[in-house]
Amino acid sequence: MILIAVISLGAIGAIGAVFLYACAKKFEVYEDPRIAQVQEVLPGANCGGCGYPGCGGFASACVKADTLDGMLCPVGGAPVMEKIATILGKTVAEAEPKVAVVRCNGSCTARPRTNQYDGVKSCAIASTLYGGETGCTFGCLGYGDCVAACNFGAIRIDSETGLPVVDEDKCTSCGACVKACPKNIIELRKKGPKSRRVFVSCVNKDKGAVARKACTNACIGCGKCAKECPFEAITVENNVAYIDYTKCRLCRKCVAVCPTGAIHELNFPPRKESASAAQPKAAEVAPKTAPNKPEPVQVVETKEDTNQK
């Protein structure tokens, strides 16, 4: 009796095994083994900063793509991209490291309250209701949607100014905060040599007098910086200046002329004399980023000179 049970069960098992094997062969889905390899070297944060749905999505996109141009894992940066390139036998273009920059400097002292908000402490919700607690309807609301969005703990709200502060070492430039900010204040900008950056820390599009009344640190769109800039990196549109970081050479002349202090410089050594200190800095910094570019700068300057004459 026992024998019959063993034989019949064994037979059923054998038939099942053959059937399953046949099915597995017939309906096999081929997956490129390299996808798993690529996924192995990715950080696994699934932040979506690359623009793909998580690390798995990015890995399969990397394998499918012909070149790795324009593909970047913002968390892993260049080292991870190089590893991916070796796995796939492709070359990777050097991408400039970026960092999140908060373009509002309307601190509690600079931007007096005009009303009080007692609703849900969320920027997304407050912005559907109205422009904010101060006279500036463009500035930071300060309820910290960016802080909640950051997977890396790289943003916090400064209790003194009420504004978000980015920790450069932790920021992976995944862009989650950029998407979370309903006021479009946060921007990913080039990290710059030695993390040195110059940017306009204001997005107020009101006319100068109105903006100034609402916030003493506001950009008033006077255009002094744009005139001062030797590299034509600054444009003034809708009453607010913007520095194009691909053209900016960090000479800091604009910082010196800004009447409201809306242009910020970061990580520069303290300046001795504004004009003389700024000049060599530009020359020293420029060759590192792009060795063959100082020439056009000269041309621009001479052009301006001739125009003035």
Partner: protein
């Protein structure tokens, strides 16, 4: 048994403090600020420039698209500037500033009080006149009226429903208008019936306005096809879909227009504006606004020019009480706290409500206890507690699958929540997001 809508609804305290007060016309202020977006749709395009002299009723901005409305000057004087101004939205948007000089009206406007009943215009001519007068839904949604009167092909209007429900607590502007301008409103309804080519109209009035029901029923005897229907008191009966359900027992499908069930719904204030535009050539530049609140010295109904700062109205009602905590533009349920008392009255401003500090305190939010009170209160049959959750977790697929875009933002859920959860705040934000996703998908 009186009719009402069948799903959900709440009964907030009515507090109609200014009921029975006569409409008082306020003189034009020194300067008016007339916003270019007073309606849903594209902002109007200014046709005047700095220094231009305008009269009362002069066209100052032309409709900026199909869904948009003309804007007329509410005062006579000189255009001071066209600049951004803070309005009821809480943001700065373009507006025309006019310095008032005298009170000179356009000659075409018939300023007499005589009732003009006869109208020989065709349907198209009536709609054109409504469009050029810049009339929008006066109940607060400010949807351009002429668009509602031109049903898309394949749809046929069967009935005009006049929304005289005024279900918002505190507000009495429509009530006072019905008491004082009954005949004019009925002529306006007749014109609307002619415009959409139907022979039946129902004026829905909540049963807490018995004097208005009696008054209009008596007058309506002289107007064929118009019926006055008293309705049970229940908020938000003034919602378009709720009123259709209450009056003709038909439900509008998700995402469909009221015309799909054959109904054209217009506010009673709009009917009056239509009368003035068609029979008196008077464009929409003034409206009745209720100024009210428990601490207000004289809760009143004012006839106000569009563009008048709200502070002027508060002054006229006895000044801002000392312990004012919030100034609300509109009623307590759907109105919005204002950023400043200097924002101007627009075509959609039905009231100004001054809440005391005690009234305006937000109670601390607690955890959801799954009592489902919000579910039974929701007049659209949604599940507000879940919709809030989907918004918190940014699950837009589920939010859309559960019809977040059908929310009419009446606030019944937040009102009824025993845990003081700000359900509507979240749902409104989620709805905006989902609407954006739907629009992106369509284009």
């Amino acid at each position: 048994m009186l009719r009402t809508f069948r799903i959900g609804g709440i009964h907030p305290p009515e507090n109609k403090l200014s009921a029975g007060k006569k409409i008082t016309a306020l003189a034009a202020p020194k300067q008016v600020i007339i916003p270019l977006s007073q309606h849903i749709g594209a902002p109007a395009q200014a046709v005047v420039k700095k220094g231009d002299i305008v009269k009362v009723g002069t066209l100052i901005a032309k409709a900026g698209g199909f869904v948009s409305a003309n804007i007329h000057s509410s005062v006579s004087g000189k255009v001071n500037k066209i600049d951004n101004a803070l309005d009821t939205s809480g943001y700065k948007r373009p507006a025309i500033y006019i310095d008032v000089e005298g009170d000179e009206w356009e000659e075409t406007i018939d300023r007499s009080d005589a009732l003009v009943k006869e109208c020989s215009l065709s349907s198209k001519e009536i709609i054109d006149k409504i469009a050029s007068a810049g009339i929008v839904g006066m109940g607060g949604a400010t949807f351009p009226t002429q668009v509602k009167l031109m049903p898309p092909p394949g749809n046929k209007a069967e009935i005009v429903i006049i929304n005289a429900v005024e279900c918002e607590p505190y507000l009495t502007s429509d009530h006072s208008l019905m008491m004082e301008k009954g005949e004019e409103i009925l002529v306006g309804v007749t014109l609307l019936m002619k415009a959409v080519n139907v022979n039946r109209a129902v004026i829905g009035i909540e049963n807490n306005k018995r004097d208005a029901i009696a008054h209009l029923t008596q007058l309506a005897a002289g107007y064929p096809g118009i019926e006055v229907m008293p309705l049970q008191v229940k908020y938000p009966q003034g919602g378009e879909k709720q009123l259709i359900d209450a009056v003709i027992r038909r439900q509008v499908k998700s995402g469909a227009l009221p015309i799909s069930v054959g109904a054209v719904v217009q506010n009673v204030g709009t009917a009056y504006a239509v009368y003035e535009a068609v029979q008196k050539n008077k464009p929409l530049f003034e409206r009745v606004v209720t100024v009210t609140g428990k601490a207000v010295a004289n809760p009143s109904n004012f006839l106000v020019r569009v563009g008048t700062p709200i502070s002027t109205l508060i002054e006229a009602a006895g000044g801002m009480p000392e312990n004012t905590g919030k100034v609300i533009g509109g009623g307590p349920m759907m109105g919005k706290a204002l950023v400043s008392a200097e924002v101007p009255v627009t075509k959609g401003s039905s009231g100004v409500l001054l809440l005391t500090k005690e009234e305006s305190v937000r109670k601390p939010m607690q955890d959801c206890i799954r009592c489902a009170k919000c579910v039974s209160a929701c007049p659209m049959g949604l599940n507000p507690a879940f919709l809030m959750k989907y918004t918190v977790y940014k699950n837009w697929e589920l939010a859309e699958a559960n019809y977040i875009q059908d929310c009419i933002e009446c606030g019944s859920c937040s009102y009824t929540c025993p845990a003081n959860r700000p359900l509507l705040d979240y749902i409104r934000s989620g709805k905006g997001k989902v609407m954006g996703i739907i629009r992106a998908r369509k284009s």
